[in-house]
């Protein structure tokens, strides 16, 4: 479980990148939902935390590949592979990311 930031420091429509290996992008949508995905576009080296957030979709800033934050699946080319998604919780006002791999080993 990785602490990210205070919830009030991640306004709606914004995103933050955490420098894990590989890095993770955490989004708070306009509806207030929190999502975390691997930050690097599966097409080429670009940071999705710097992408364009619209609803539950994020568009890569380099080649406009788009990913669904809920599933990690690409919704259009040029990306063909999904990004990993990670569970996000808010505990006592702090946003936490639960790495997908850790969840797997815990189970």
């Amino acid at each position: 479980m990785i602490p990210v930031c205070r919830l009030e420091d991640l306004p709606e429509g914004e995103s933050v990148r955490i420098e894990t290996t590989p890095p993770i992008a955490v989004f708070r949508t306009e509806d207030g939902e929190l999502y975390a995905i691997d930050d690097t576009c599966t097409h080429q080296d670009a940071s999705l935390s710097e992408g364009w957030l619209e609803g539950c979709l994020v568009e890569c800033p380099l080649h406009a590949a788009s990913f669904d934050l809920r599933t990690g699946l690409p919704t259009c080319l040029p990306a063909r592979r999904a990004v990993r998604t990670h569970r996000v919780t808010v505990d006592d006002g702090t946003v936490h990311v639960h790495l997908a791999a850790e969840e797997g080993t815990a189970a």
Partner: protein, 394 residues
């Protein structure tokens, strides 16, 4: 249509094939490619592939699953030699022919050559085979490299070579590289990246010739100076691959002439990507190659121009740790304003910058160095603006 032949198996050819299936074409699909490789992405060739950060499997544009779904006949390592006057027969290497109802021309462009470039140690960088050969030579320890041409390919290649520890000089015939793309002011800022990357930039002088008998030994400049070189990389632009269309009914003039909908003089022949001159302009951009096929295929299947493609120009370049992104239609005389970040000593400062090109109070184009997020915002605004303005002006 029962058969559609896509001539060209690179980015725009593959996107055209995908669009044909996505738009419901269920007939015979033939894809002809002169390279023996399956479609691959070219932009990394001058960057991560050259430096060894990316390997060939990461360049692949398709996988087995998609290839199966496309259900196409792939004629790879096969060069198209001609198109008959009616546009119904594609002539291939060795006299083979493909009878077809529709044709998508996606033959791209080839690197411009320099006289005498047959010497060992002289390279162009356009194809995977080019990049493999250069990568292998670069692996033989530190060498003196001269890059001829300071455009995007030249600059990215120089950056990659410098990063690998080679001694690099870039020679550019114009007083500054990239002026047509960026305008003089911002071209100067980007040229400063070479210096910061430890690369010499020699400008305003042409190349008289290459020195050497079997292997290149140097580059002779127009003023008689000779730059010693173990490796020379020629990056002086690309020429559209239209020679095979001589004798067809198509109009060729620095590309295949098409209307705004990528349709040629023959309604069942469309052209996309680097080879296509669409509505009067030919763009050698990745984005055009991926956006034109949707419209071209729709028009091909409709048998006439029902849609037009005039996407906002967008290109990017990664060099010397800087990600340069440009979008819009700038004109000489536009005012350039640094809207975010700053310059330091004429070069992009640490945190990059965002520059807006303006005319009559409107933004015409945007340039970013390492500022992808605000760049994307302005790029989207420009695209939205254009889609609003153009129909109103008609």
């Amino acid at each position: 249509m029962r058969t559609v032949t896509v001539v060209g198996a690179s980015l725009s050819g593959l996107y055209a094939a995908r669009e044909l299936r996505a738009q419901g074409f269920d007939g015979r699909l033939v894809i002809v490619g002169d390279e023996r490789h399956r479609p691959y992405d070219r932009p990394p060739l001058s960057k991560d592939f050259l430096t060894g950060r990316a390997d060939e499997e990461q360049l692949a544009l398709t996988d087995a699953e998609e290839t199966a779904e496309l259900d196409a006949e792939w004629l790879l390592g096969t060069r198209a030699r001609g198109l008959d006057a009616r546009g119904r027969t594609v002539l291939l290497d060795g006299g083979r022919t493909v009878s077809t109802d529709g044709v998508v021309i996606a033959t791209g462009a080839s690197a411009r050559r320099l006289p005498g470039d047959g010497l060992a140690g002289v390279h162009t960088l356009r194809t995977l085979d080019d990049a493999r050969a250069l990568r292998e030579e670069l692996g033989r320890g530190p060498q003196r490299i001269v890059v001829i041409g300071g455009g995007f390919i030249g600059a990215e290649t120089a950056s990659s070579c410098a990063g690998l520890g080679h001694t690099v000089t870039v020679v550019e015939a114009a007083p500054l590289p990239l002026v047509p793309q960026l305008g003089a002011e911002m071209a100067a800022v980007c040229a400063a990246l070479h210096r910061r990357g430890g690369v010499d930039l020699v400008t305003g002088i042409g190349v008289a010739g290459l020195r050497g008998t079997v292997t290149v030994t140097g580059v002779e400049l127009a003023d008689g100076r000779v730059l010693p070189a173990d490796i020379v990389i020629v990056g002086i632009g690309a020429l559209p691959n239209t020679a095979w269309l001589a004798g067809s009914a198509l109009t060729l003039h620095d590309g295949v002439l098409c209307d705004d909908g990528c349709v040629t003089a023959l309604p069942q022949v469309v052209a996309v990507g680097d080879v296509a001159r669409v509505g009067g302009s030919r763009a050698e951009h990745w984005t055009s190659a991926t956006e034109q096929p949707r419209v071209a295929v729709a028009n091909l299947l409709a048998g006439r121009t029902t849609q037009t493609a005039r996407p906002l120009p967008y290109f990017w370049s990664d060099q010397y740790g800087a990600r340069i992104q440009f979008a819009g239609r700038r004109r000489d005389g536009d005012n350039v304003r640094i809207a975010e970040g700053e310059l330091a000593d004429g070069a992009p400062a640490e945190g990059g910058f965002l520059a807006l090109y303006e005319r009559d109070g409107r933004t015409t184009a945007v340039l970013s160095v390492n500022r992808p997020r605000p760049f994307m915002r302005v790029r989207r605004e420009l695209a939205r603006e254009e889609s609003r303005v153009v129909p109103a002006a008609l």
